[in-house]
């Protein structure tokens, strides 16, 4: 009996180090999740400042604020920082916080590897950002770092390559952890087909990461040796082929696109049923659609290269395969709509962001189908149309889902309700300014304005000015988000275990804020 008492007492002792050591030596999934989320938010602001500098330069024709060299560094680093520093780690932060709670586990499977996979990101990010301050500056060849241009860069390029290597290693470790946790640590009775959709999408994403990141590592390693050790993988004069880099890069790069959107689908699939007070429509077709998207994402890479030159058969194959992705993606949109249909909906901030996500992501989907059609892609490739397209799927897609997910789970994370009025302001301002910034870019692209240019012809002046105003509005709105989150952490109305009437997943059975160790006794899922 004494032993049992001791166990109970022990269970309530979080016994973690305090102060800085709590974070440096963190092995707790919530602590690590928190660090991932703050890291990604800092990176988001860093990349955002770069974006605003770009938009400030593009406010008017002519060169005003940054010279063309620095402009190219900014576009390159904006892409790298947002993809590898902001969006990806943010989703890993969500996975860390939510997966153990949603599957009824006490923590992640590999606690120390979890620590390592986060702390690797910090030196990698410092290495990447500090490339601005070395001779020659940061890499300026675009986030796609195509050779031979990337071979011309200074040592900043090598630093970026090394940073990507480290971030890739961190991602692979994080993925292995997620796969192991999901496959081995589910509560009794939770079969795979009973898992919350967020967990499903992350499981599939983790497999994509394990598949794609080593391919990127291979491509950038070859680039590194071409740059420094006289190899000629991508140098035609030495028997290599610069287009081979593009094939290898996009074999990573296209699955990467879905790595950034599948967990977003997962978050939205949690939010919509909760606020519609109705079960998710077509759960199993959602799972199959996610898996189909993941598989298709591995055979469509060359649609990024329709102007690089390939045989008609190649263009046709990649066009058909790309168009096919519209089918499972469409199924998801239809399922979300059917979930809302005849629900009993309320529109708190998470729901607003989820509906905003569906609405704008679908517009990005339409422009995606248009880009998939080879002859049209020939016209819009490397223009602002493509910029508009991928910001509709990455900003109003991935980022909006992250915002929605944050508002959705903040009460669970902090134990307080966030300020609903300010949350709604954050949504509506983001929605307005996002469209102001990016919708007009469709027109710029169709009219022929190339991307990655620091200056442009006079006919593009008005839309660029509108776009810049939208971008500044959008950027400043995100400070409101920061304020709402800080306010929620510091206090506010006490959150009950389940603040949302329609929430059904396991994390809502835990008190708010969630205890340090999630489920010490696994719940039984019927």
């Amino acid at each position: 009996m004494a032993a049992v008492d001791h166990d109970i007492a022990h269970a309530h002792d979080d016994h973690h180090p305090t102060g800085l050591m709590r974070w440096i030596g963190a092995t707790n999934h919530k602590d690590i999740g928190t660090m991932y989320l703050w890291f990604s938010f800092i990176m988001f602001l860093t990349g955002g400042v770069m974006a605003l500098t770009i938009r400030a330069e593009l406010f008017q024709p002519g060169i005003q604020i940054v010279n063309p060299e620095l402009f190219n560094q900014l576009t390159t680093m904006h892409g790298l920082v947002m993809v590898f520093g902001a969006i990806m780690p943010a989703f890993v932060g969500f996975a860390n916080w939510q997966i153990p709670m949603m599957i009824g586990a006490p923590d992640m499977a590999f606690a120390r590897m979890n620590n390592w996979s986060f702390w690797l990101l910090v030196p990698a990010a410092l290495l990447l950002i500090s490339s601005f301050f070395v001779p020659g500056g940061a890499p300026a060849g675009g986030w796609t770092i195509y050779p031979p241009l990337s071979v011309q860069m200074g040592m900043g390029m090598d630093m970026a390559i090394f940073a990507l290597h480290i971030m890739g290693a961190a991602s692979i470790m994080g993925s292995i952890n997620i796969i192991t946790t999901v496959l081995n640590m589910r509560a009794p009775g939770m079969t795979l087909m009973k898992m919350p959709l967020f967990v499903w999408t992350w499981l599939i994403t983790a497999y994509l990461l394990v598949l794609a990141m080593p391919v990127l590592a291979g491509a950038i390693t070859m680039l590194l040796t071409d740059r420094n050790f006289g190899t000629n993988f991508f140098n035609a004069a030495g028997g290599g082929d610069p287009v081979m880099f593009q094939h290898i890069f996009w074999f990573f790069g296209h699955p990467e696109v879905y790595i950034m959107i599948l967990p977003a689908f997962g978050i939205v699939s949690e939010i919509i049923p909760t606020f519609a007070r109705k079960p998710l429509f077509g759960y199993s077709s959602m799972v199959y659609a996610t898996a189909s998207i993941a598989i298709l994402s591995c055979i469509v890479w060359a649609h990024h290269m329709f102007t690089a030159g390939m045989p008609a058969a190649g263009q046709l194959f990649f066009m058909y395969a790309t168009m096919l992705i519209a089918v499972p993606t469409g199924v998801k949109v239809f399922n979300w709509t059917a979930t809302m249909w005849r629900g009993s909906m309320t529109f708190e901030t998470p729901m607003l962001f989820a509906i905003g996500f569906i609405f704008l992501f679908t517009i990005g989907g339409f422009s995606g189908v248009i880009c998939a059609i080879v002859p049209i892609d020939i016209q819009v490739q490397d223009t602002y149309y493509v910029i508009a397209h991928f910001h509709y799927v990455l900003v109003s897609g991935a980022l909006f889902a992250l915002f929605g997910g944050t508002y959705y789970w903040l009460p669970k994370w902090t134990g307080h309700m966030y300020d609903e009025t300010l949350g709604k302001w954050h949504f509506w301002l983001s929605m307005f300014f996002f469209n102001l910034a990016f919708f007009v870019q469709h027109f710029l692209g169709l009219a022929g304005m190339p991307r990655r240019v620091p200056d442009y012809a006079l006919q593009f002046a008005d839309f660029n000015m509108i776009s810049s105003i939208g971008a500044f509005g959008f950027g400043l709105t995100q400070l409101l988000f920061l304020y709402v989150v800080l306010k929620c952490i510091r206090g506010g109305e006490k959150a009950p275990a389940s603040p949302w009437e329609g929430a059904k997943t396991l994390e809502w059975t835990l008190p708010s804020p969630a205890p340090y160790h999630s489920f010490e006794t696994p719940p039984v899922v019927k």
Partner: protein, 370 residues
């Protein structure tokens, strides 16, 4: 929003001058561009229809199925029939989209039996045009941005075709099939002319091809579409489509001019002749990186003033100009004539306080190339 786009799109038609509110692709000037234009219009209508259908349902639901209106939640969660229907219908729509696209792709790839073949070479940061076969065979020139620096730096008012104007446009006859072969000298560039429906990457070490037949005479403008370094935004493409007689006249002019301009490369030149010529070559080819004062850009582009190359042995200097330096931004310039290379090397060795004092003759370059 898509509705606005579709309606507004028609206002883009029939506007010849650059329109600051152009919402759509430029007015097509070739059969391929026309097919692309129509296909894009068709797709927009399809997207609009889907948009209205899906979001009509969703926003009806958002308005009516609210807790605040007391609407009770239903509890249905799947329907195999509905799910099969909404999988099959999109497949059929996609097949409908793919069919015309496939036909156009096959037409775009047919570069056979051209009337004129022109090789386009991308350089950092200008285009080189070589007329290989057909009327005009043998004509060869470089085409670079003619917008003055002062306009870019906001020191002078910007002209109508700001950033879209070149010193020597590509001239082709109307109604003739022009095959474009593409390659590049240094990094990947992309040659694009939206009104003609052409965009193709130019890849160093490889040849790609594309084609167009212009339907109407006129001046059609485009830009380099693949990031190629710091002056990427400053290497436009201008194609002048003219009547066949005018074209024949242009070809005749080019041939006489090049004969007149041909210098006897075997003769000896004086330092002043070479320096004067070299300054022009420098301004056209070198100034973007090494700057007008020869100081380069610290950390990015090497200075020439007092540099080891520009003050050291002639042979090393000639070598780096002809062959470039692997792993750096210094591209090979072997496409320049013996005269141009001799002149620019002489200029660099004797300008901005560099005082190598030696003269490089075209014949030395000719010798070096062997």
């Amino acid at each position: 929003m898509v509705g606005v786009l579709v309606v507004a799109m028609y206002s883009g038609l029939g506007m010849a001058a650059p329109d600051p509110y152009q919402l759509n692709l430029p007015e097509p000037q070739s059969i391929i561009a026309e097919q692309i234009y129509d296909m894009h219009t068709m797709l927009l209508w399809i997207c609009l229809a889907i948009f209205v259908a899906v979001f009509g349902v969703m926003f009806y639901s958002v308005l009516k199925h609210r807790k605040s209106l007391g609407f009770p939640a239903a509890n249905f969660h799947h329907s195999t029939t509905v799910e099969i229907i909404w999988t099959i219908i999109p497949v059929l729509i996609l097949v409908g989209m793919a069919y015309p696209a496939t036909k156009t792709i096959i037409a775009m790839k047919d570069t056979s039996s051209p009337d004129i073949t022109i090789k386009v070479t991308g350089y950092q940061w200008k285009w080189g045009y070589d007329y290989l076969t057909g009327e005009g065979e043998g004509i060869s020139f470089l085409s670079s941005l003619s917008t003055p620096k002062a306009q870019i730096e906001n020191a002078a008012p910007k002209s109508e075709n700001y950033l879209l104007e070149v010193d020597r446009p590509l001239v082709v006859p109307v109604g003739k099939k022009v095959r474009i072969l593409l390659t590049a000298n240094d990094v990947i560039h992309a040659w694009s002319v939206p009104a003609l429906g052409v965009k193709q990457d130019a890849i160093p070490g490889f040849i790609r091809d594309t084609w167009f037949t212009a339907d109407r005479t006129g001046t059609y403008r485009g830009q380099c579409a693949e990031l190629c370094g710091k002056e990427h935004g400053f290497m436009p493409v201008v194609v002048e489509v003219v009547e066949p007689e005018q074209y024949a006249q242009w070809v005749a002019e080019q041939t006489t001019q090049s004969a007149a301009a041909a210098v006897d490369a075997s003769r000896e030149f004086t330092m002043d002749e070479l320096k004067a010529e070299g300054e022009k070559v420098y301004a056209a080819n070198c100034v973007a990186c090494h700057q007008a004062n020869g100081q380069g850009i610290p950390g990015t582009f090497a200075p020439l003033v007092g540099s080891k190359i520009a003050t050291g042995p002639k042979a090393d200097h000639i070598d780096i100009v002809i062959n470039g330096k692997t792993g750096t931004a210094m591209a090979p310039f072997r496409h320049l004539s013996d005269m141009d290379i001799a002149a620019v090397v002489t200029y660099e060795r004797n300008a901005w306080g560099n005082a190598a004092g030696d003269v490089v003759q075209p014949s030395e370059i000719n010798e070096f190339r062997k």
